[in-house]
Amino acid sequence: MAELDIRLKKVNKIYKEGDVIAGVVVVQSKGELQHQGITLIMEGMVNLQLSAKSVGLFEAFYNSLKPIQLLNYTLEVAKPGKLPNGKTEIPFEVPLKPKPGKTLYETYHGVFVNIQYLVRVEMKRSVFNKDLQKQTEFIIEYRSQEEKAKTKLVNFSITPDTLTNVKEKQNVPKFKVKGHIDSSCLQIVTPLTGELIVEVCEAPIKSIEIQLVRVETCGCAEGYAKDATEIQNIQIADGDVTRNLAIPIYMVFPRLFTCPSLSTNNFKIDFEINIVVVFADDHLVTENFPLKLTRF
C-alpha cells in the first residue's frame, strides 16, 4: 500500500503571479515501492457552462464554451525507480507563469463560470498496479490591479413610486425606506457596509435582507448568455423594526465565491446586491445595486 500526498508550503494556499509554488510530494509506503516515474502537473482552467435554459440557443457557437487553459506546466519529480520503505518527501518548486497571451485570473467558483487552479501529482506504476494520483487546489490572487477601489457612495430611497413592475398601485402599502451604501466600488476583503432606515411603513415588516448576486455572462460578440444567481442572502432585520432607526448593512464577501469583477472576451463576472424588504404578508420589494469589486 502506498499513499501519495501534496503539501504546499503556504497554509492558506494563496499565490500571486510570479510567486514560486513550493511544497513537497509525500509518499507513504509500506515496503519498497517500485514506480515508473512521478510527475507533477500544474494547471489553471476557466470552465464555462451553459444554463439549462440557454442550451438550445447556444449549441451553434459551442466553440466559445471550450475550457480556457490559463496555465499548464508539467514537471518530472522523480525518475522511474524505487522508493524506500516509509515516508519519502520530495520537494518541488514551480514558478507561477501563465501561458503566453493569457492572464492568471483570480480563483472563482461560480455556477456557469469556474476559474480553478490545481496541482496534481501522478505516479506511474507497472501494469499490475494502479497509477496513483492526488491533486490539490491552490488559490490565485492578483499581484496588482490597475483599477483601484474608489469610494462611491450610493444613496437610495425606496418608495412605492420607485417600483417598476407593479400592476395595481393602490394595493401597495405606503412605505419609505431610505439609506445608503458606503461604496458600490469595493475591495473584496472589505465588507459591504451601509445603513438603512425605515422611515414610514404602513404594513408590518417581516424581514429585510441583503442578497448577494453573481451575474455571469458567457459568449462572444455573436451572442451571449447572462445569468444572475444568488450567492448568499444575509438578513439584516428580523421582524417589524423600529421606524427611523438606522439599521446597519454589513456583509462579508465569501471567499472563492467572489472575485474581483472580471470582463474578458469570452466571459464576464459581475456582482450585484439586492436589498429585499419582505412584508408580513410575504410580499416583497427589491432594489438592485450593481457592485464593482477589486482586489486593491
Binding site: V11, P191, I234, A237, V241, M251
Partner: protein, 987 residues
C-alpha cells in the same frame, strides 16, 4: 479478725499552715506555653518561618509575668492555628477536589475564573452565574413548548414520540396519531429537522441540556460543522417568542450552550496555535495575554474560516449570537479586534424587531463583552440608548398581537424585560460616576419615563447615588407612565436602595411622606407588605418612636382584613427583625402600643415562637444594662411564656436548650436593685410562668440564693426582724422549687448549695431540711446518666458531690434535739444501703473521706467556720461524750473498710486492692494519732498488705513515706516509732 481502734491526731492548724507555706518564686517559663512554642519552631515549614519572630517574642514576654496581661496562651493558640489548623486546610482541599468532580462544574468554575481573570472587574460586580438561577426560578411556564432541531439522539426521539403518543391518546384525535407516525418515519432520515411539540417545561429544559451534550459530543468527535449547526439551531430558538413568559429562562439555557461552544472553539484554536508554533517541536505555551502577532498563520487561517462561516449565516439572530459567542477568538486575528466587533454587533441588534428578543441579544453582547474585554465599554451605552429608542415598539401592533394571542397582560410582559435590562444597566453603571446616572436619568425622562426603566436604574446604580436623589426618584416614580411595572415594585426597589445608603437628612421626611402616601393606598395586601417590609427599615433607622408606631399600626390595619397576615408571615417576620436590628431600646419598643399588637398577628404557633425567640435573642444581645421597667418585664414575660409553652414532650433538646438560654438571659437581666422583695416576687412569678424548663428553674434557684446572700451582705450578717423572714422565704422558695427539677444531680447540687446558703443565713432548720432532702434523694441517683449521646456511669459525679457534702457537714451545727452528727449518720446509713457498682470501691473512698472529716471534727477548733455560725466545736466544746461518739463512728467505718478489703483480697483484684489501700493509708497518715498502738498496727498492716502482691504504686508509697519522714524529723515521736515499720519492698 482483730478490731482496730481509731484515734484522731490533735492538730494545730495555724502551725501547720505556717510550716507548709510555700515561698513564691518567679517562674522562668510558662508551664503550658512551653510545649506549644517548641512545636511551632520545630514544625518549621516554610510558612512558619515568617511567623517565627512573632512566636519567639511571645516567650520573652512570659519570663516577666507568666499570668499577667500579656498572657501568651491566647496569642500562642492563634499563632499555632494560623499555620496548622487542619480543619481549615481540609476545607480548602475539599473545595479544590470537589471542583473537579464533574465536567459541568468545571465548566462553571472556569467561567468564574474568567470573571476573575478579567482583572479589572471588581468584586462588586455581580457575575451572571449568580443571576442565572434566579431567572430560571422566576420565569416559568405551564404552557407546552416546542423545539426544532435535528440533533437529538434517536433513542431520545423515540422517547419523545412515545410521550407524545401517550399524550395524543389521552386527547385521542386521529390526526395527532397520524402526525406522530409521520414524524417517526421522518426520524429515519438522518439530519431531518424535526419539530418536537407539546413539551412541558421540564422536558424542554432536558432537551436543551441534551443539545448541549450533543454539541460537546460532536465537538469531541471532530464533527465541528455539526457542532456549529447545533449552535446555530439553538440560537434560532431565541427568535421564537411563542411562549413568551418562558423567554428569559430560555435565554439563560441557550446562552449557556453558546458559551460552551465559544469556549470549545477558543480552546481548540489556542491548542492549534500552540501546537503549530514554528521552530519548536513540542507544544509551546502562549502567554496569557498574547497578541495576534504571536499566533502562527495556520491558527489564524482556521480562525478566519470560522468567522467567514459565521458571516454567511443567513438569519440575523443566529449570526449575531454565534458571532458574539466566538468573540473571544478574535484575539487570534487581531488584538483588540473585538472592540470593533462589539460595536458592530450592538448596531446589528437594531435589526431585531421584537423588543424582547432585541433587549436579550443586547444583554448577551454586554455579557460577553464584559468577560472578553472588561475595559471596553463603548458598546454598552449604545445598547442602552438603542433600547430606549426601540422601547416604544412594545406598544406596536406585532407585540400587542402576540400578547393578545398568549393572553399575557402588559405589566407581566414588561417584567420579562427586567433581567436583561438589569444586566445592561449593571454593566453600564458598574463603577460609573454620578454624572452617568444624571445622563441616564435625563435620557430616561425624555424618552421613556417608564416604570421598568426607573426600576432597573435604581437597582443598577450605586445605592448612595440613588439615595442622594431620593426626592427626584420619588417624583419620577409618581409621574411615570401608568403602564408597565406596578408602582409598588418601584417603591420597594427605592426602599431597598435607601436603607443601605445614607439618605440626605433634609430629604428623609419628605421622601417618606411621598412614598407612604402612595403605599398606604395599596389595596392588595401582597403589594402592600412588599413595600412595608422594606420601608420599615428606613423608618426605624431615621425616625422616632411616633413614626414607628404609626407605621406598625398601618401595617396592622392593612394586614388584618380577611386575616391577610396569614399569608405573609415571612414578610411580617422580616419586619420584626428589621425593627429589632435597629431599635435596641426595649422600653421604647414595648411602650409602643402597636408593637405587641403587631406580634399578635402571628397566629400560627411555630411562627409566633420564632418571633418570640427573635425578640429575646435581640434582647439578650443588645440589652447590656439591667432592667426594671415593668412594661418591658411584662412584655418579655408574655413573650417568654409563649416560647415556654411551645415546649412539649416532642421538642428537641437543642430547641429546649435555646429557649432555656434565652429565658435565663432575660431573667438575669431583670434587677430591682435594693428592692429585694420585688425581686423575689419576680422570681416567684417567673417560676409560675416557666416551670417546665430545668435550665430556667436552675437559674431561678441560683438567683434566689444569690438574693439571699446579697441580703446578708447588706445587713452584714446580722439579720433584722425584717430580713430574717425574707431569707427564710428565699430558702423556702428554693426548697419547693428544687423537687420539680428533672435532673437528680441538679437537685442534689442545688440542695447542697441552698443548704449552705441557708446555714450561712442562720436558718438552721431550713439548712437541715435541705441536707435531709439531699440525703434522702441519694438512693434515687441513677447508676448511669445520659450525656452527649452516650450514657456514662454517674459514680464520679456522685463521689464529687459526696466529698463536697461531707466537707459541708463538718461545719454544720448539730440540731440539739437530734443526736450527735445525726446528718452524717443518716448519710452513712443511706450510703450503706445504696446499691453500689460491685466493681468499684467508691463507697470505701467516701468512707475514707468521712474518716478524715471525723478526725477534723475531733479537733478543739475546726479548720474552717461559717461566719457567725457556731459549729460543733464551740457547741460541744470538745466534750468527751461527743468525742466518744465520733470515735465509735470511725471504728465502725474502719471495720467496714476492712471487711471490704477482704472481699477483694483475691489475687485478680490485687491491683485494685493495693491502690485502695494506698488511698486509705494516706488518709490515716495525715489524720491518725500513731502514739496509739492500735492505729499504728493498722497502718503498718495495711502498708504490708498493699505491697503483698507486688502491685503497689511505689511512687505514691515513696511520697507517703516522705510525709512520714518529714513528720518524724519535725519531732513527732509517734512517727519516729512508726517509720522503721514502713518499708518499701523493692522488688
Amino acid at each position: 479478725m482483730a478490731t482496730y481502734e481509731w484515734f484522731p491526731r490533735p492538730r494545730n492548724y495555724a502551725f501547720e499552715t505556717k510550716a507548709f507555706e510555700a515561698v513564691a518564686v518567679p517562674a522562668t517559663s510558662h508551664p503550658l506555653k512551653a510545649i506549644t512554642v517548641t512545636e511551632v519552631k520545630k514544625s518549621g515549614d516554610k510558612k512558619e518561618i515568617n511567623r517565627a519572630p512573632a512566636t519567639s517574642s511571645a516567650p520573652k514576654a512570659v519570663l516577666g509575668d507568666p499570668l499577667g496581661m500579656s498572657d501568651p496562651l491566647s496569642g500562642g493558640i492563634s499563632v499555632e492555628f494560623d499555620g496548622l489548623d487542619p480543619l481549615s486546610r481540609i476545607m480548602k482541599g475539599d473545595s479544590l477536589t470537589s471542583g473537579k468532580a464533574s465536567r459541568a462544574d468545571s465548566i462553571k468554575i472556569s467561567k468564574l475564573d474568567e470573571v476573575d481573570g478579567g482583572n479589572s472587574l471588581s468584586e462588586t460586580f455581580e457575575p451572571w452565574s449568580l443571576k442565572k438561577a434566579g431567572i430560571l426560578a422566576r420565569y416559568t411556564t405551564s404552557e407546552k413548548l416546542s423545539i426544532t432541531t435535528s440533533f437529538l439522539s434517536p433513542s431520545d426521539q423515540e422517547k419523545v414520540v412515545i410521550k407524545t403518543q401517550t399524550q395524543s391518546q389521552t386527547t385521542g384525535t386521529v390526526s395527532d396519531k397520524v402526525r406522530n407516525r409521520l414524524e417517526q418515519l421522518d426520524d429515519f432520515e438522518e439530519g431531518s429537522v424535526k419539530e418536537m411539540l407539546n413539551l412541558s417545561q421540564q422536558e424542554y429544559v432536558k432537551r436543551i441540556e441534551e443539545l448541549n451534550q450533543a454539541l460537546i459530543t460532536a465537538w469531541d468527535s471532530d464533527h465541528r460543522v455539526k457542532a456549529l449547526k447545533i449552535a446555530i439551531q439553538c440560537s434560532k430558538l431565541l427568535a421564537d417568542v411563542s411562549v413568551i413568559p418562558f423567554y428569559p429562562s430560555k435565554f439563560v439555557l441557550i446562552t449557556d450552550i453558546l458559551d460552551t461552544f465559544g469556549r470549545l472553539v477558543y480552546e481548540r484554536l489556542l491548542d492549534k496555535a500552540q501546537s503549530s508554533l514554528p521552530g519548536s517541536a513540542r507544544p509551546h505555551r502562549l502567554s496569557a495575554n498574547f497578541t495576534s502577532d504571536e499566533v502562527p498563520e495556520a491558527a489564524k487561517e482556521t480562525c478566519r474560516n470560522w468567522f467567514f462561516k459565521i458571516a454567511s449565516i443567513r438569519e440575523l439572530i443566529p449570526r449575531l449570537y454565534v458571532e458574539a459567542a466566538l468573540l473571544k477568538s478574535y484575539n487570534f486575528l487581531n488584538t483588540g479586534e473585538y472592540s470593533d466587533a462589539l460595536l458592530r454587533l450592538s448596531l446589528m441588534s437594531r435589526g431585531i424587531g421584537d423588543p424582547l428578543v432585541a433587549v436579550y441579544s443586547r444583554c448577551y453582547l454586554c455579557r460577553v463583552g464584559i468577560l472578553v474585554a472588561p475595559k471596553f465599554k463603548e458598546h454598552i451605552p449604545r445598547c442602552f440608548e438603542d433600547f430606549i429608542t426601540t422601547f416604544p415598539q412594545v406598544q406596536g401592533e406585532t407585540v400587542q398581537n402576540t400578547l393578545a394571542l398568549q393572553k399575557l397582560e402588559m405589566p407581566r410582559y414588561l417584567t420579562l424585560f427586567s433581567p436583561a435590562l438589569d444586566w445592561i444597566l449593571q454593566c453600564l453603571a458598574h463603577s460609573a460616576s454620578e454624572t452617568l446616572l444624571n445622563e441616564t436619568m435625563d435620557q430616561c425622562k425624555q424618552h421613556c419615563n417608564n416604570a421598568l426603566m426607573i426600576n432597573s436604574i435604581m437597582s443598577a446604580f450605586q445605592p448612595q447615588f440613588i439615595a442622594n436623589r431620593a426626592l427626584v426618584f420619588t417624583e419620577m416614580i409618581r409621574d411615570c407612565e401608568g403602564t408597565g411595572l406596578p408602582k409598588h415594585l418601584l417603591y420597594r426597589t427605592l426602599g431597598l436602595c435607601l436603607v443601605v445608603a445614607e439618605t440626605p437628612e433634609d430629604q428623609r421626611l419628605s421622601v417618606l411622606n411621598e412614598v407612604w402616601k402612595a403605599v398606604v393606598k395599596l389595596k392588595n395586601p401582597s403589594d402592600y407588605i412588599g413595600c412595608a417590609e422594606v420601608w420599615i427599615e428606613f423608618v426605624v433607622k431615621h425616625c422616632g418612636k411616633r413614626e414607628i408606631n404609626i407605621f406598625l399600626g398601618d401595617i396592622i390595619k392593612h394586614m388584618t382584613p380577611d386575616r391577610a397576615y396569614e399569608d405573609f408571615y415571612p414578610q411580617l417576620q422580616s419586619v420584626v427583625s428589621k425593627v429589632l436590628a435597629h431599635q435596641h431600646d426595649f422600653s421604647l419598643l414595648f411602650s409602643l402600643d402597636k408593637f405587641l399588637t403587631f406580634i399578635d398577628m402571628f397566629q400560627r404557633e411555630s411562627i409566633k415562637v420564632e418571633i418570640c425567640k427573635c425578640i429575646l435573642e435581640s434582647f439578650n444581645k443588645h440589652q447590656v444594662t439591667a432592667i426594671n421597667d415593668p412594661v418591658v418585664i411584662n412584655a418579655m414575660m408574655f413573650l417568654g411564656k409563649i416560647m415556654h409553652d411551645s415546649v412539649d414532650a416532642l421538642t428537641l433538646d437543642d430547641e429546649k436548650r435555646v429557649i432555656g438560654q434565652l429565658l435565663c438571659g432575660f431573667i438575669r437581666l431583670v434587677q430591682f436593685g435594693r428592692d429585694f422583695e420585688q425581686q423575689l416576687s419576680f422570681y416567684v412569678e417567673s417560676r409560675a410562668y416557666f416551670s417546665n424548663l430545668d435550665a430556667v428553674l436552675i437559674t431561678l434557684i441560683h438567683s434566689v440564693n444569690n438574693l439571699a446572700v446579697e441580703t446578708r451582705r447588706v445587713v452584714k450578717g446580722n439579720h433584722s426582724s425584717k430580713t430574717a423572714p425574707f431569707v427564710r422565704a428565699c430558702a423556702a422558695y428554693c426548697f419547693i422549687t428544687i423537687p420539680s427539677l428533672q435532673a437528680i444531680f441538679s437537685q442534689l447540687q442545688l440542695y447542697l448549695l441552698s443548704g449552705q446558703v441557708a446555714i450561712l443565713n442562720q436558718c438552721y432548720s431550713q439548712g437541715d431540711a435541705f441536707f435531709k432532702a439531699a440525703i434522702s434523694l441519694i438512693p434515687e441517683v441513677p447508676k448511669t446518666m445520659d450525656g452527649d449521646s452516650k450514657s456514662r456511669s454517674s459514680e464520679p459525679y456522685l463521689l464529687e458531690f459526696l466529698y463536697s457534702f461531707v466537707a459541708t457537714l463538718l461545719v454544720t451545727p448539730d440540731n440539739p434535739e437530734a443526736g450527735v452528727m445525726y446528718l452524717l449518720r443518716g448519710l452513712l446509713n443511706v450510703l450503706h444501703d445504696y446499691t453500689w457498682d460491685p466493681n468499684s470501691d467508691a463507697r470505701i473512698l467516701v468512707y475514707s473521706r468521712v474518716l478524715a472529716m471525723l478526725s477534723a471534727a475531733s479537733q478543739e477548733e475546726y479548720l474552717y467556720h461559717i461566719d457567725k455560725v457556731d459549729s460543733n466545736d464551740s457547741m460541744y466544746g470538745n466534750d468527751p461524750k461527743f468525742l466518744a461518739e465520733v470515735k465509735s463512728m470511725a471504728d465502725t467505718l474502719i471495720a467496714e473498710i476492712l471487711t471490704h478489703l477482704k472481699t477483694i483480697s483475691a489475687p485478680e483484684f490485687s491491683k485494685r486492692q493495693s491502690s485502695l489501700i494506698t488511698e486509705i493509708v494516706s488518709v490515716l497518715l495525715t489524720t491518725c494519732d500513731f502514739s496509739q498502738q492500735s492505729v499504728a498496727t493498722l497502718t503498718v498492716n495495711l502498708w504490708g498488705l498493699a505491697q503483698k502482691n507486688g502491685q503497689a504504686d511505689v511512687k505514691t508509697l515513696k511520697k507517703l513515706l516522705d510525709v512520714a519522714k518529714a513528720k518524724a524529723s519535725a519531732g513527732s515521736t509517734a512517727f519516729q516509732g512508726l517509720l522503721p515499720k514502713l518499708v518499701i519492698n523493692s522488688s
